[in-house]
C-alpha cells in the first residue's frame, strides 16, 4: 500500500513491484516498451484475468517476469508455441508474447512463421535492438550489414531480416512497426493489436546502448535521435519497402490490418459441422 503522500504509479496494478529493481540497463529501451504494453492492457478495459504474457529468453524476454498477470518465462525461442497452446486450449484469453529479435526470429523463427500462417490469435511484440543483448552483444538476424558485434568484430557479412515483410508474407493479419520513443503510437498500436482478431505483430525498434550502441559508436542519445529524425511514418506502406537503413530513413506505421477468421474459430466450426 502506498503512503498517503506517495503517488501510486498508474501501472502499479500490473507490475510485480516486489521484483524491482528490474535487470534492464540504464538507457535500455525495453522498459519503455514494457510500460507501453501495460498501458495498452489498461486501456483495453479488459479484465486483467483475461490476459496472459509469454516471453522467451533474453533481456526483452524478462518482460513476463515483471507483469502481474499469469505470466510465463519459457525457453529460448519457444514463447510462440507455448502461447499457441494456451490460445487453442482457452480461446477466451488474450495472449501477449513479449520477446526479443533473437528469440523470435533466429531460434524461434520457424514458430513465428507458422503462427502467422495460422493467423493464431495472439499478439507478438518484438523488441528489435538489432542484437543479442543478454548474452553480450552477438550478431542477430536483425543486425544491419557491416555492423559490429561481439561475433562480427570486423563487420556483419550478412543481411538482416525485414521483419514486417516476413510477418506479412507468412500470413500475419496485423503488422506494425514503431520505435520506443513513439510511445503514444506504440500504445495505440498495442491496443489495436490486442483487440485485433488474429495474429498481430508489432516490431519495436529499441536501443541497446550497452551491447549494440557501444560497439557501433552510437551514443544512447544519438540512437534516440536517429529514431526521431531518420524515420518516416507511412501507414499502409508496401512491406517490401521496409528494410532497415537509417541512412535512407526507416518507415514506421501500420502496414497490415486484415480481418480473417482464426484457427480456434475455424477449428470449433469444423468440429461442429462434422457428422
Amino acid at each position: 500500500m502506498a503512503k498517503a503522500n506517495q503517488k501510486v504509479h498508474p501501472l502499479e496494478e500490473l507490475i510485480r513491484t516486489e521484483r524491482l529493481p528490474h535487470i534492464w540497463c540504464p538507457g535500455c529501451g525495453v522498459g519503455t516498451v514494457f510500460s507501453a504494453c501495460l498501458s495498452a492492457i489498461q486501456e483495453t478495459g479488459i479484465d486483467h484475468k483475461k490476459f496472459t504474457m509469454i516471453s522467451g529468453i533474453g533481456c526483452s524476454g524478462r518482460g513476463a517476469g515483471y507483469v502481474k498477470l499469469d505470466s510465463f518465462h519459457t525457453t529460448h525461442g519457444r514463447a510462440i508455441p507455448f502461447a499457441s497452446g494456451i490460445k487453442m486450449a482457452n480461446p477466451s484469453l488474450n495472449v501477449i508474447v513479449f520477446s526479443g529479435d533473437g528469440d523470435l526470429f533466429a531460434i524461434g523463427g520457424n514458430h513465428f512463421i507458422h503462427a502467422a500462417r495460422r493467423n493464431m490469435d495472439i499478439t507478438v511484440i518484438c523488441i528489435n535492438n538489432f542484437i543479442y543483448g543478454m548474452t553480450g552483444g552477438q550478431v542477430a538476424a536483425t543486425t544491419p550489414h557491416m555492423d559490429r558485434s561481439a561475433t562480427t568484430p570486423y563487420g556483419n557479412p550478412e543481411t538482416p531480416f525485414n521483419l514486417p515483410l516476413m510477418a506479412y508474407a507468412s500470413g500475419a493479419t496485423y503488422v506494425a512497426r514503431w520505435t520506443m520513443i513513439h510511445s503514444r503510437d506504440l500504445t495505440d498500436s498495442f491496443v489495436e493489436a490486442i483487440n485485433h482478431r488474429g495474429f498481430s505483430f508489432i516490431e519495436v525498434l529499441s536501443p541497446c546502448p550497452i551491447n549494440y550502441g557501444r560497439r557501433n559508436k552510437i551514443k544512447s542519445l544519438n540512437m534516440l535521435k536517429m529514431f526521431a529524425d531518420n524515420t518516416i511514418i507511412k501507414n499502409n506502406a508496401d512491406p517490401a519497402q521496409l528494410d532497415i537503413d537509417f541512412k535512407k530513413g526507416i518507415v514506421l506505421g501500420k502496414f497490415v490490418d486484415i480481418d480473417k477468421p482464426t484457427p480456434d474459430e475455424n477449428y470449433e466450426k469444423i468440429c461442429a459441422m462434422r457428422e
Binding site: T52, I57, T74, T75, R78, I86, A89
Partner: protein, 391 residues
C-alpha cells in the same frame, strides 16, 4: 459422435489403444508432429478429440508440439503428445521446462531403431536412458513401459494420473512392435475408470505461492485466468516462482523436484513378478521384450531351470531396492531389452558384485527370441554356475 469411453471389446493396435486411453483419462489437448511409428496416435486423436470438446493441433515440429502442450496444460487441461526417436530428441529441451515448471503432460515415445533417422518402421527400446537423462540437468521423471495394446490403454490412463498427481512429465515408452500390433483391448465402463484431477489451490489468492508444496511434496496448480497471477519460469526459482540465482535456491528447488518422486516410490513404481519366489535366475525386462521373457521363463522351467521374471511396468523411477533385495537371494540376473545395454546397466549397478548380471540385447529392428534368452542362461549359468540348477 462417439462417447468419451468406448466401452467394449476391440481389436485395435497399441497406438490406437493409447489414444483411446488418453481420451478416457480426460485428455483434451494434443500437440502433434507426425512420425513413424507413432503417427497413428496423432491421427486417432485428431479424429477423437472433437468428440470430447478437445483440441488437436499439428505443430511445425516436435519442439513446438511439446511446447504447445505445456502452454495448454496451464489453462487447466490434460495434454499429450506422441513421437518416436528423432522427435523425442527434439522434445528434450521442453522436457526440462516441464520438469522445472512442474507442468503435467504425457509424452508417448513409440520407439524405433536409432541413432538418428535409424529404422523408422522397426522397433527398438534404445531411448530408455534418454527418457531419464535426455534433457540437461538433474531431474526425476516417470516412465512407463506397456507390453501390449491393452496396456497402451490402461497405462496411458495411469500416466495421466501420475502426471497430474506429481506434476511431472510422464513418458509412455512403447515401441514399434507394441504400437503396431493389434490385439484384443477391453475398455471398461466409464465409471470403472479411475482418473485423478489436478489439485487446485485454495485460500487467499494474494498470498498464494505457486511452488509451495503440500504434504506429498507437490504444489497445487492454478489455471491461467483463475486470478492467482502466477509467474512461471524455467530459471531456478523460489516458492513464489520468482527467479533466484543462488546456490541455496538451486538446492531447495532441486531438492524438492527430486524428492517429490524419490519420497513416493511406493506409490509410483509398478512391477509384475512371475515365478520369482523360488527363482535362481531373474530375468528383468519391460515392454515388448517382457513378452519374450515370459516365454523364456516357461521354457526354462520346462527344462528344470528355476527362472523368474521381474517385469518393469514403471522403468523410471527404477525399482532399485527390489533388485538389490533380490540380488541377496538369487544366483544371477539377465536383462532382456532391444538395445545394446541400457536398463541392464541399472540392474548391474543395483546388483553390484553380489551375483553376475548379463544382457540379452539386440541392436534393434526386431524382437528378441526366447531361444536367445535360454541360450544365454544355459551358457552362462549351467557352465559357470551349474550348482544353482536343479539343486
Amino acid at each position: 459422435m462417439k462417447p468419451k469411453v468406448l466401452t467394449g471389446e476391440h481389436f485395435i493396435n497399441g497406438d490406437i489403444a493409447c489414444a483411446e486411453g488418453a481420451i478416457a483419462a480426460g485428455c483434451t489437448f494434443f500437440g502433434a508432429y507426425p512420425i513413424t511409428p507413432a503417427t497413428e496416435v496423432a491421427e486417432r486423436m485428431s479424429e477423437r478429440l472433437p468428440d470430447v470438446c478437445g483440441v488437436f493441433i499439428q505443430m511445425e515440429d516436435e519442439i513446438a508440439a511439446m511446447t504447445s502442450i505445456l502452454g495448454a496444460a496451464w489453462t487447466g487441461v490434460k495434454t499429450m503428445t506422441a513421437t518416436s526417436g528423432p522427435g523425442f530428441s527434439l522434445m528434450m529441451e521442453t522436457v526440462g521446462l516441464s520438469v522445472v515448471t512442474e507442468t503435467p503432460c504425457v509424452v508417448v515415445n513409440v520407439q524405433r531403431g536409432g541413432p538418428s533417422t535409424g529404422l523408422p518402421t522397426m522397433g527398438a527400446q534404445a531411448d530408455m536412458m534418454q527418457a531419464k537423462w535426455g534433457s540437461h540437468g538433474d531431474y526425476e521423471i516417470i516412465a512407463i513401459a506397456p507390453s501390449s495394446p491393452q496396456e497402451m490403454f490402461d497405462l496411458t490412463i495411469e500416466a495421466f494420473n501420475l502426471s497430474e498427481k506429481y506434476r511431472v512429465p510422464v513418458f509412455i515408452m512403447s515401441d514399434e512392435v507394441v504400437g503396431h500390433m493389434s490385439e484384443k483391448v477391453v475398455i471398461p465402463e466409464a465409471k470403472e475408470i479411475k482418473t485423478i484431477a489436478r489439485i487446485k489451490p485454495r485460500g487467499r489468492k494474494d498470498q498464494f505461492k505457486p511452488f509451495q508444496p503440500e504434504e506429498n511434496g507437490v504444489p497445487p496448480m492454478p489455471a491461467i485466468g483463475d486470478g492467482y497471477n502466477v509467474h512461471v519460469t524455467g530459471l531456478t526459482h523460489d516458492e513464489q516462482g520468482y527467479p533466484v540465482m543462488s546456490v541455496e535456491a538451486q538446492k531447495d528447488m532441486m531438492g524438492r523436484l527430486l524428492s517429490k518422486i524419490r519420497d513416493n516410490l511406493d506409490d509410483i513404481i509398478r512391477t509384475e513378478e512371475y515365478l520369482l519366489d523360488d527363482a535362481d535366475i531373474v530375468i528383468v525386462s519391460y515392454g515388448v521384450s517382457a513378452r519374450t521373457a515370459f516365454t523364456a521363463v516357461d521354457m526354462a522351467r520346462e527344462m528344470g531351470i528355476r527362472v523368474g521374471l521381474l517385469r518393469l511396468i514403471t522403468v523410471w523411477p527404477f525399482p532399485e531396492e527390489m533388485i538389490r533385495d533380490l540380488s541377496k537371494r538369487v544366483k544371477g540376473f539377465v536383462t532382456v531389452e532391444i538395445n545394446m545395454g541400457q536398463i541392464s546397466r541399472e540392474v548391474q549397478r543395483c546388483v553390484g558384485s553380489n551375483v553376475p548380471s548379463y544382457l540379452v540385447g539386440h541392436a534393434g529392428g526386431t524382437v528378441i527370441t526366447p531361444d536367445e534368452v535360454i541360450n544365454l542362461i544355459k551358457e552362462v549359468f549351467m557352465v559357470t554356475n551349474h550348482h544353482c540348477i536343479n539343486k
